[in-house]
Amino acid sequence: MTHRIGVDIGGTFTDFALFDESSAQIAIHKQLTTPDDPSRAVLEGVTVMLRDNGVTIADVESLAHGTTLVTNALIERKGAVTGMLVTRNFLDVPDMAREQRYDLFDLRLTFPEPLVPRNRRREISERVGYDGAVAEALELSEAEDAVRDLVDNAGIKALAICMLHSYANPTHERAIEGMVREKFPDLHLSSSADVYAGMGEWERWTTTSMNAYTQPLFDSYLSRIENGLADLGFAGKLYIMTSSGGMLLPETARRYPVRMLESGPAAGVLMSAFHGRALNLDNILSFDLGGTTAKGALVRGGEPLKTDQMEVARVHDFKRGSGLPARVPSIDMIEIGAGGGSIAWIDERGLLKVGPKSAGADPGPACYGQGGKQASLTDANLMLGFLDPNFFLGGAMTLDKAAAERAIKETVSAPLGLSAMRAAWGMHDIANEDVARAFRIHASERGFDYRQATMIAFGGSGPLQAMAIAAKLNIPRVIFPIGAGVMSAMGLLASPLSFEQAQTRRTFLEDINPEAFAEILAPLTKAAKQPLLAAGLSHADIRPHIRLDMRYFGQGHEIEVTVPGDDPAKAFSALPGLFAARYTSLFGVAPMDESLEVVTWKVEVVGPPPPLQSGYRVTGSGSAATASEARKGTRTCGFGGSPVEASVYDRYALISGQTIIGPALIEERESTCVITPGNRATVDGALNIVAELEA
């Protein structure tokens, strides 16, 4: 058992990484995604990759998997017919949402429809107070009648049980759950306090409905993977990646599919953090640009910034507030409507814009020759010479440069009176500006100083745009990691087992002592550890990280404080000081003389570090005998819209210590790293390319 596999399913490709622990070698593989049944590509790819590398499946200790299946089901509304039980007199909570407009000027704004339409919801007589006391007893027979009605007349396959204040006392939800398990054993069940034990009914109920809605589909998908792997003779462990960058066993993943929303992208960020730790970099911008969107995340001191507030399936151009809220622990990512397929258009001011509309994969950019007439970012990059029409995807696909030029001329240059090269550069530049803007705001909202950070770029088009974006952000360094085309698959190998439990329980510090504080945390820690113990870890292997959302009495929002050390009772007395320090650093004013309260308690437990450590090699890289051998020739590129001769290199032939002076293009199968003029890049010991930008 010396091998581990990482598999990440993307929109176009399913990526594979095979790590050999004994030799610290990683082999990579790509396979077209099979959208009708994504498990097919997974199983085929595993077979092919193992055969190509002469490894038998019996030698594979684990397979770690990342998938956007859950997110896609929500975006495409392909989940199960789902029912919902709610507290009487609150049937309309899912429709009423926040009672807030996310755009003040567009009066035609629309909101996402609830996942469970009103006619598949039923009210149940019961009431729990904010303090957890039962104010009105549960009518269990009413719940049974309601579920029978939903099963018989609405044909529901999944059920979300959503009662008010269940985070404070889940008795009623559990009683209903027990009844349904007994009387309707085929239904998939999600209870709100189990999915997310936090305050805020719309957010918790919506998160729960997402969980219910995607459960049947995710369950059967995992079964197909498990059975398929078993058929291949796999006897190792299957792990599923969560949005927060931890691994779960299939059993826990099945129970909480909503924790898998950003499964694949999280793995990419995790790999950025991994490289950051290996290279001793404090602040990192992780940047991934694919076919339709770009994703960004921030890494501080080796750890990705996290959030428990996500938004899914936005209906309005990626606008914040136009999606459905998911309260799950996640790496804090921004999604930007900029990708290779982003289409150029002229806005109402008469100015050039790029995206967020995308040509997608079909028809795709004009240069794909599949009938696309509109100019996309990839067309501009082809016209600017950043892409080689004969070496797209390593030559697997030929690009039509004339079609790209025609689309740019017809839809951009002619209406705006620009030369074709100016138009193409403008598209490239505007896409970069959009990404830079999103990073600036994201970083500024989190008090993260990006100006001295390092960007780590990956994805199909990330390495192409990264240095120009870094220049706009005054970022001094960009790293193009080895294996950037399968970054998420590799990140799956760099993730530990972990799980997080959160609970709203409003408690004034003055009302408790160190023992009571520890007593509140104990059951939460126990619950968080459960999935890890089930995966075979011992208590000694598991480290808890405790974070508290705290505020002054009267303050409308909370500040997160990390509890130091392993013994909460010992850390209790330090809390006011820790909060005051955090408060002062955020607000720039002296701390207040007010009572302090803890609102949300969070315990994340993490297993031992993953086996993937720095110093691994990617099979087939570093193949040249001398530095000059990696140079393939030159190509004319339109930096700034003016033609410049750029050197072209083969990424996999580069050797450690080699220096490359921009302008240069470093081609690999999945992408091209663009080294901008006047800047230099060196290849480090692990074959990552480290580019420094002149100030």
Binding site: F90, L91, F105, L107, G129, Y130, R422, S444, L586
Partner: protein, 549 residues
């Protein structure tokens, strides 16, 4: 309209990048302001604005998430500030501030803070931030004042900070005059801090693009905006369009009137015929009227156009001095939104026939109720409850159910509300049939029932409207249901103050939005969906739409 020579140095690419960068800088200043603000109103309701202006005092960019009330106010505020502190007297690190309703944004809760931007020792522009403070003394948030002096501390234009440091006397003055000094000072510090980070962002942007001054870029932004606005305004047929409505006041209905004159692409909006000021805190200084009128015109033309001085050049707004929409001191203005929010609907109504595919029917508007008392745990309560009525319909779009307009807020979740107040929300549900019938239906209102379970008396202050005069529908669309407040099942004045004894209930039925177009023209499938999803009852569908008959 002329195109200046200097603005021609920008093509459709460079202007796109530089203009959007200016907006991005304003957005980044906003995010600093929001992150460092203490109060919920800034963080969650975005009751704030950040702008960048050139040396001529023209607005170049405004933060994207500003609420409508701040459109066009900053250049006027800056003009007054520069009269008091001429540009040549300004030094790097100066902060000029005021909360004067007539100089700033219409009530004393809003502080406007301006900081000059220096590139080396040369003044190149200004940043300004505006936020709604948690308190400013006086009677507190509401309409109870009879004159401006009841409403708290009025700061004339002053040098609030020197070298970025708050004037110690002014800090002490404010601390002494407000209820929650820590929160107020915290928010003032956030304003100072955000302006401090804004200037260097502007100058480093100028260095990146080799700009010696902002004026050529400002010219280009203004010209493109004005041109785009004129194209859209030109689509509305020339003519003079009028609207007269009545709204409920304390001593009988208050008339509100407007006329909109369109000549080519020039628009004048005038509010002659509107009633006079009243001795309650609902009078509207002209700056606020102007902002709401410009907001309405923006919604009708190019909602996505970034705010700047050029975008509003073609539109002239006026109101007779002394009328409710051009209030003069010493009339109080604390709750100026209660009247000011009628301005967009007034304009949409006037333009119903001229721009039938663009206007919105009346919104049910939101209901704000201040609650004061004692929690079951003995701690004090002073907070605002918010519930929204239905959004007005547009041609081709039903109004959103329980969506606020023209202003915006976010609801406090039931679970949070009950926790912080100790009251019980017995019910919160949409009211079927409350949305104004039409080819496009108005959004439904909702019913909220609150029970005082605190064990102590609760005082509530209401400021609601749409109780006598329902939200209107247009072009054949019907009005939405009116708003009703009930105290223990007895209808009460929705602008009154009440004491809720333990166990008492206040029930608020929020107004529905108005409909657009004849209900007979509504698609059958939409009626069926409304019935299935509980927006309309079968009886209501038969009565209002002739469904099933």
């Amino acid at each position: 309209m002329k195109t200046s020579a200097s603005s021609q140095q920008f093509d459709a690419v460079s202007l796109s990048i530089m203009w959007d960068r200016m907006v991005a800088i304003a957005d980044e200043i906003v995010s600093t302001l929001v992150r460092t603000s203490f109060s919920t109103i800034v963080r969650d309701s975005y009751d704030l604005s950040v702008v960048i202006m050139d040396t001529k005092g023209r607005l170049m960019a405004q933060g994207t998430y500003a609420v409508p009330v701040f459109i066009g106010t900053a250049p006027r505020t800056l003009r007054y500030m520069l009269e008091r502190f001429p540009p040549e007297t300004l030094r790097p690190g100066d902060i000029i501030a005021t909360n004067d309703p007539w100089i700033g944004t219409g009530h004393m809760f809003d502080i406007s803070m301006m900081r000059p931007i220096f590139k080396g020792d040369r003044l190149v522009g200004y940043t300004m931030s505006i936020t709604h403070l948690p308190d400013i003394g006086g009677l507190g948030f509401g309409a109870a004042a009879r004159e401006i002096y009841h409403e708290g501390l009025r700061l004339p234009i002053c040098r609030f900070a020197k070298d970025g440091v708050m004037d110690p006397f002014l800090e002490e003055l404010i601390r002494t005059n407000v209820r929650v000094p820590e929160q107020v000072i915290g928010d003032l510090v956030a304003n100072i801090a955000c302006n401090e980070v804004g200037g260097p962002m502007v100058t480093s942007f100028m260095e990146e693009y080799g700009l010696e001054s902002l004026e050529p870029l400002s010219d280009a932004i203004g010209e493109h905006s004005e041109r785009a606005m004129r194209v859209k305004l030109g689509e509305i047929a020339d003519g003079r369009y009028e609207n007269h409505i009545e709204i409920e006041g304390t001593d009988g209905p208050i008339p509100m009137a407007c006329s909109v004159e369109i000549k080519g692409s020039d628009v004048s909006v005038d509010f002659s015929g509107t009633g006079g000021c009243v001795p309650r805190g609902i009078n509207v200084p002209f700056c606020y009227t102007n902002a709401m009128a410009l907001y309405a015109m923006k919604c009708l033309t190019i909602p996505a156009l970034p705010n700047n001085s050029g975008a509003v050049t073609p539109i002239k707004v006026s109101a007779p001095e002394g009328c409710l929409l051009n209030a003069q001191p010493p009339f109080p203005t604390g709750g100026r939104h209660a009247i000011g929010h009628f301005v967009p609907g007034l304009i949409f109504g006037a333009l119903a026939e001229a721009a039938p595919d663009k206007i919105q029917a009346d919104c049910g508007m939101m209901d704000l109720m201040t609650i004061q008392g004692t929690h079951r745990d003995g701690r004090g309560i002073s907070t605002i409850y918010f519930a929204s009525g239905g959004f007005g319909a547009l041609s081709g779009a039903d109004g959103g159910d329980c969506v606020p307009g023209p202003s915006n807020m976010a609801v406090v979740p039931v679970e949070v509300w009950e926790t912080i107040t100790g009251t019980t929300v017995e019910k919160k549900s949409m009211v079927p049939d409350s949305g104004g019938p039409g080819a496009w239906r108005g959004g439904t209102g909702q019913e909220v029932v609150l029970r005082n379970d605190t064990g102590h008396p609760l005082t509530i202050f209401c400021m609601a409207n749409r109780t006598e005069f329902p939200p209107l529908g247009y072009l054949g669309g019907k009005p939405g249901a009116r708003r009703v407040h009930r105290l223990n099942d007895t209808e009460v004045d929705a602008k009154g103050s009440y004491i809720l004894a333990p166990g008492d209930r206040i029930a608020m039925t929020e107004a529905g939005g108005g409909g657009i177009g004849d209900p007979k023209d509504r698609e059958l499938a939409l009626i069926e969906r409304d019935i299935a999803q509980g927006r309309v009852t079968k009886e209501g569908a038969a009565r209002d739409y002739g469904f099933g008959g």
